[in-house]
């Protein structure tokens, strides 16, 4: 019998509001009152500053960023700086990962493979780069390896948080306001820049769910926040 999961799509939402919802779902999973969930969202442009952020990796002042429509927010997680914004699908699987795979490392490799399979569906050739997190692709415009999907998970009480972002058609100039994750020698690209015909985030979400279920042998069905709050 296939394991059941829920999916919830928060749509376009601020990073802060989405994080509160993510923590609520996580808590329900931890205390056993909630179902493992794939949480999807798209954020308004925001730069998140982890506790390990180095000042040199933020290349503009808050005022300059505001003029570009980008907000700055400090987050409780460790790690360096990152950007999220329109045209980027964020997927946070909130689940008891050890019920799906053996070990967190294998879980991460499976997530990367799901993104690689997803890109292949759109005739894009994603790959891993040893020592670098996320999924990469050769940008056909420059011939250089560039990151198309960032990945980072957290595990608390055996249940995962965070996940990955997939650049569908974000404003890539926004990424140039930071040195993402402090990695200076590699750039960022998107599905659109790599020649993929227009894809909506909801279409990509549906394909992601198919790829996820194929990888883990699960059956993921729609839930919504109102239903979740009734649990």
């Amino acid at each position: 019998m296939k394991k059941d999961l829920n999916w919830i799509d928060l749509g376009l939402i601020t990073y802060e509001d989405a994080f509160i919802i993510q923590e609520k779902i996580h808590q329900k999973c931890v205390d056993g009152t909630g179902t493992d969930t794939l949480l999807f969202q798209e954020n308004y442009p925001v730069i998140t500053l982890g506790r390990g952020t180095q000042e040199k990796n933020l290349l503009h002042s808050a005022e300059e960023l505001a003029a570009m429509g980008i907000t700055l927010t400090s987050v409780s997680r460790g790690g360096d700086i990152s950007y999220h914004g329109n045209g980027q699908l964020i997927v946070s699987p909130i689940l008891h990962f050890d019920q799906y795979v053996k070990g967190a490392h294998q879980y991460v490799r499976c997530l990367e493979q799901i993104v690689i399979n997803l890109l292949a569906h759109y005739h894009l050739k994603g790959k891993r780069i040893k020592g670098r997190s996320g999924v990469w692709i050769v940008d056909p415009n420059t011939g250089e390896d560039k990151k198309i999907s960032a990945l980072g998970i957290a595990v608390s009480h055996g249940v995962t948080l965070h996940g990955m972002s997939i650049n569908v058609n974000p404003n890539l100039q926004h990424f140039s306001t930071i040195i993402p994750c402090g990695i200076e020698d590699k750039g960022v690209t998107s599905m659109a820049t790599c020649g993929c015909p227009p894809v909506t985030l909801s279409e990509l979400r549906d394909q992601f769910i198919l790829a996820f279920d194929a990888m883990f042998g699960t059956q993921t069905t729609k839930n919504n926040i109102d239903e979740m709050n009734k649990i």
Binding site: R51, G52, R77, G78, G79, G103, A104, H105, Q106, V108, G131, R132, S133, L151, G152, I153, A154, V155, S156, H157
Partner: protein
């Protein structure tokens, strides 16, 4: 009684684990299962739980230290 806080096995084969942050201070009272620290590889961060009720009595590793699986990073007096 003294309880040791150790880095758990969470990322098989990981060579670089960083103690990203302490979520408590020495002298804080904690309950078993509370998240008290965050350790991470480049892809995975894990919240380390208090192994027992008690008071954080010592940090044996500092934020941003490179640590190993099984390494004792702090103590709880319970």
């Amino acid at each position: 009684m003294k309880y040791e806080i150790a880095i758990p096995e969470f990322a098989e084969g990981a060579e670089e684990i960083n103690l990203r942050q302490w979520l408590v201070a020495v002298g804080d009272t904690v309950k078993k299962g509370d998240n008290i620290a965050e350790a991470a590889t480049d892809k995975i961060s894990i919240y380390i739980e208090a192994p027992a009720d008690g008071v954080i009595s010592a940090f044996l590793a500092q934020e941003d230290d490179r640590v190993l699986v099984g390494q004792i990073i702090g103590e709880i007096e319970g």
